[in-house]
Amino acid sequence: MIVTIIDILLFFMLVMTALAIVNRRRLFSVVMLAGVFSLLTALLFVTMDAVDVAFTEAAVGAGISTVLMLGTIAQTSRREKDPTRSGVLPFFVVAVTGAALVYGTLDMPNFGDPNAPAQLHVGPDYLKNSVEDMDLPNVVTSILASYRGYDTLGETAVVFTAGIGVLLLISGLAGRRRREDEEEN
């Protein structure tokens, strides 16, 4: 009950932050607000017991991406360009998509429903056997690292590649800036 109220309040703050992000034109404040947005998201994950996702959100959302976005701002512009076209059509598209998504969730099982299909397939086996198989206290860890080990390896490879790509982009931009400056002088 209490947790539900807290959830609602957190969602409220989340929506407010999102609106603020959309409204702002100065990119520094957008970066700060995005950091706060991800803090709020992680809090919501914690209230839903998704501890590992909250971990990831904390490390990536609040920490690294803030720094990356600041680095990007340093290379590019500090203000968002004012929109040149009217926003009616994009808003319409977004609203329809959102409505469709909300309609889709009506068919989804309730949060934490023990009879949801996802809970009935292999989940019970994992829950029953993981401590014996792996001797680890945390089931999520053993699923991620062993039962779904190849998935995790793939994910890690993707994230690693993305990280290298971002670093290359930023350093390439910085190098070009410097060269241009030198040519000007």
Partner: protein, 97 residues
């Protein structure tokens, strides 16, 4: 029960900080507010752990404390030594690095 009170106190504080984060005239106001927001989040995770009867969540709170500090310091380093972060009027591009 007492943790409910603490949770709501933290939420009220967070809303205040959000307003400051939105209004805050200078960049540093925003950094300050978001740092305080991070501290509040750490405390909130701790309180939530007690509220749901599973204080194991404290690991995340610890991680948050670390990330928040590192993030704040990184941002400030950027403002201080990067080619940006001017509050006063100054040429947009700082003269050659």
């Amino acid at each position: 029960m007492m943790f409910v009170v603490a949770a709501f106190a933290l939420i009220v504080a967070m809303v205040c900080l959000l307003v400051r984060l939105y209004v805050g005239p200078t960049v540093y106001d925003r950094v300050l507010a978001s740092n305080a927001f991070g501290t509040q989040t750490v405390l909130f995770i701790g309180v939530l752990g007690f509220l749901t009867g599973r204080p194991d969540f404290l690991d995340i709170a610890l991680l948050y404390a670390l990330i928040n500090f590192i993030g704040t310091i990184a941002v400030l380093k950027f403002f201080r030594y990067g080619s940006m972060g001017d509050v006063v009027k100054r040429p947009a591009k700082s003269e050659g690095e």
